[in-house]
């Protein structure tokens, strides 16, 4: 069964990679390749869903308890979130940011052994399902918010500099990108809050040390909470809000790609 999951990894990766290339090509010749990109996202995501199902069927407990396994699940959540509303016409170019990141992270998950035979975790299944699931869902939302913020900064720069072909690429309006970034953070933050809450509750009941991952995750929560407070109370929007969303995402990357694999092998 682990081999079946591994076999499904390749079509998933091929779909995501094809989508990333097609989105990049679409910036050169708008409107020509976007259809291929969307089909790449859909087929890749379906293959990855099948991969996760195969892993779950084969697992004795929560199948994504390792760092690499959780990265696999994280990619699936990010692409799933993108599929829900990112594929719609005005936001398609989000794929320009989301799909290369998804393809790279999936390769990383594969290289670290997260897409084959699932490993047994030392933690309880229910705890892991909620704690990991919620934190990853929050991080997936922040990833989408970061993609929106990056797109905002690109489009803002093009408009400010009156870049050649400023109307050629069908970017969503700045206002749309800005409000969607806020919405993505507003949905992701409660998920992260709950995930952290469950983790802290377990820490309180079963004991354990406070480590760097917990510290940076809490810092991530503070940055995104500040993002929302500054937005609603001080009217922070536009470029400043986009930079703050990207700063928060750097912390997400720090947790997912640096701290978790190198200092702590549980998610």
């Amino acid at each position: 069964m682990g081999e079946a999951a591994l076999l499904l990894f390749w079509p998933a990766l091929a779909g995501y990679a094809e989508a990333a290339v097609a989105y990049a090509g679409d910036t050169v010749r708008p409107g020509r390749l976007v259809g291929y990109a969307i089909w790449g996202v859909r087929l890749g995501w379906l293959a990855q869903t099948a991969l996760l199902v195969a892993q779950a069927a084969d697992a004795d407990g929560f199948p994504w308890g390792t760092w690499a396994g959780s990265l696999n699940l994280f990619v699936w959540m990010c692409v799933g979130a993108y599929l829900i509303w990112g594929c719609r016409a005005p936001f398609r170019l989000l794929g320009l940011v989301v799909m290369p990141v998804a393809a790279l992270l999936l390769i990383l998950a594969w290289a670290a052994g997260g897409v084959g035979e699932p490993a047994r975790s030392e933690f309880g299944d229910v705890f892991l399902a909620f704690h990991v699931g919620l934190i990853l869902a929050g991080f997936a939302g922040f990833t989408l918010a970061a993609a929106l913020a990056a797109l905002y900064l690109v489009q803002e720069r093009r408009l400010k500099r009156r870049a050649p072909g400023v109307l050629r690429l069908r970017f969503p309006s700045l206002e749309t990108l800005d409000s969607l970034t806020v919405r993505a953070v507003a949905v992701a933050l409660p998920a992260l809050t709950l995930g952290i809450g469950i983790g802290l509750a377990r820490l309180g009941s079963e004991g354990g040390g406070f480590d760097a991952i917990m510290g940076v995750t809490l810092l991530t929560w503070v940055v995104y909470a500040a993002f929302l407070v500054l937005r609603w109370e001080a009217g922070w929007r536009g470029r400043r809000a986009a930079y703050l969303a990207l700063a928060g995402f750097l912390l997400v990357l720090l947790v997912r790609l640096v701290l978790t694999p190198f200092f702590h092998f549980e998610p």
Binding site: G165, L167, S173, E175, R237
Partner: protein, 428 residues
């Protein structure tokens, strides 16, 4: 039957001549009536950039003379005076021309959308006047389809082709739609008028006109159903405006960056799109450096339009391929008309033989029940249909290869069919 196009356009005739050749509704109706008096199919496309008469008749030379006569009578110019400005093309070339026109490929600005509506209007006018027949009906319907197809399958009509449209489209890259937005007009020159009109057509909410003279501001505001204010109130109005269009005749800067900066603080970061179409410029260029402010002057907008038109020209290559493919389709259909009467005669003859044979066998079939009777009817119909299927397909294929007339003659000879006129009458 031959399709003929006689016409002129901005490429051949100056505006003075095009004015003389322009049809209004009533003149067009009268011309269509005259042209179709002896059963000729006719349609007239008349816009500010072109006048074209499409007609179908068996005698193209006489038809050309009649169309020239119509245009001569309309313009008051002689045949020889008109001739250098007119083009005359027939059949495939005429169809290809109309398809290019409908696709916007023959327009001053490639891909402009208005022409498709004008082709539709010409077709409807001809239909109302009952001057379309099978060929013009098919030609115009296909032209409308080509126009839509080109705009759907290429990006030829996507980007703006005028300064006012470019300004409105850029504003839509900042805001999530312009519906309900507030526009602040500083002064009101001709281009500002057009820009305001373009923004209004996209659903902007309120227009405020600021002018040095309050009376003049009020007068201008009434034109847009807006509100007038003096120039001294501009900073205050900036707090709520989303788009600012400046076009005063002032020799200096009307709105400085520090003024805008103060307003931006009160706006809590909400963006503003500035359009400066005045020369000399009304708006301090440093406004563009402020966060949330996007400033485009007339040169910037003209550059956007130039890029956009260049992009349209690139797309025109793809559009030409679509038009050419459709013109081939029309040609094949037109050629198939050569064999249609022969096919109709063949089928009519086969059907009459079937009916006659059933009547002859009436005595022997009388004992059949109604369901058995229906089975015999169906069986004989199927035999006839199957026998004629292959010859019909082959004749149509031959027609597409321009051999249709030969095959039609052979079929008429082999099956002893009547001439085409009889068959056509039977079909009609």
């Amino acid at each position: 039957m031959k399709l003929l196009l006689v016409g002129t356009s901005y490429q051949r005739a100056p505006v003075e001549l095009r004015e003389l050749l322009a049809y209004d509704r009533e003149l067009r109706r009268q011309a269509l009536e005259r042209l179709s008096a002896d059963g000729t199919e006719a349609a007239v496309l008349s816009t500010c950039n072109r006048t074209e008469v499409y007609a179908v008749d068996a005698d193209p030379e006489a038809l050309e003379e009649r169309v020239y006569g119509e245009l001569s009578a309309l313009s008051g110019l002689s045949h020889s005076e008109l001739a250098p400005a007119l083009y005359t093309v027939g059949d495939e070339a005429a169809a290809l021309h109309l398809f290019r026109v409908a696709a916007g490929l023959d327009s001053m600005v490639p891909g402009e959308a208005q022409i498709l509506g004008q082709v539709r209007e010409a077709y409807h006018a001809a239909r109302e006047a009952r001057t379309t027949g099978p060929i013009l009906h098919r030609l115009f319907r296909q032209a409308l389809r080509v126009g839509k197809r080109v705009r759907t399958e290429t990006a030829i009509g996507e980007n703006p082709a005028s300064v006012s449209a470019a300004a409105a489209e850029l504003a839509e890259r900042v805001f999530e739609g312009l519906a309900g937005r507030r526009i602040l007009l500083l002064g009101a020159g001709k281009t500002a008028d057009l820009t305001a009109a373009n923004l209004i057509s996209r659903g902007v909410g309120e227009i405020v006109v600021a002018n040095r003279s309050r009376e003049r501001a009020d007068a201008l505001a009434r034109r847009f159903d807006g509100r007038g204010v003096g120039l001294d109130a501009v900073e205050e109005e900036l707090e709520w405006a989303d788009v600012v269009v400046a076009s005063t005749s002032s020799q200096g800067v009307v709105l400085s960056a520090p003024q805008v900066g103060r307003a931006m603080k009160r706006r809590r970061g909400r963006p503003v799109f500035f359009i400066d179409i005045a020369v000399p410029r009304d708006l301090d260029p440093a406004i563009n450096d402020l966060e949330g402010c996007y400033l485009y002057d007339i040169d910037d907008l003209e550059r956007v339009v130039a890029e956009s038109v260049a992009g349209r020209r690139e797309e025109a290559v793809r559009a030409e391929a679509i038009v050419s493919e459709e013109a081939d389709g029309f040609r094949a259909w037109q050629l198939s008309l050569d064999v249609v009467p022969a096919i109709a005669s063949l089928r009519a003859q086969a059907e009459s033989i079937r009916q006659a044979e059933l009547e002859r066998a009436e005595g022997r079939l009388a004992s059949l029940s109604p369901s058995q009777r229906r089975a015999v009817e169906a069986l004989t119909s199927q035999i006839v249909a199957k026998l004629l299927h292959q010859p019909t397909v082959r004749m149509k294929e031959a027609a597409a290869a321009a051999d249709g007339v030969l095959y039609a003659d052979a079929v008429r000879h082999l099956f002893g069919l009547g001439d085409d006129d009889q068959a056509r009458d039977a079909r009609q």
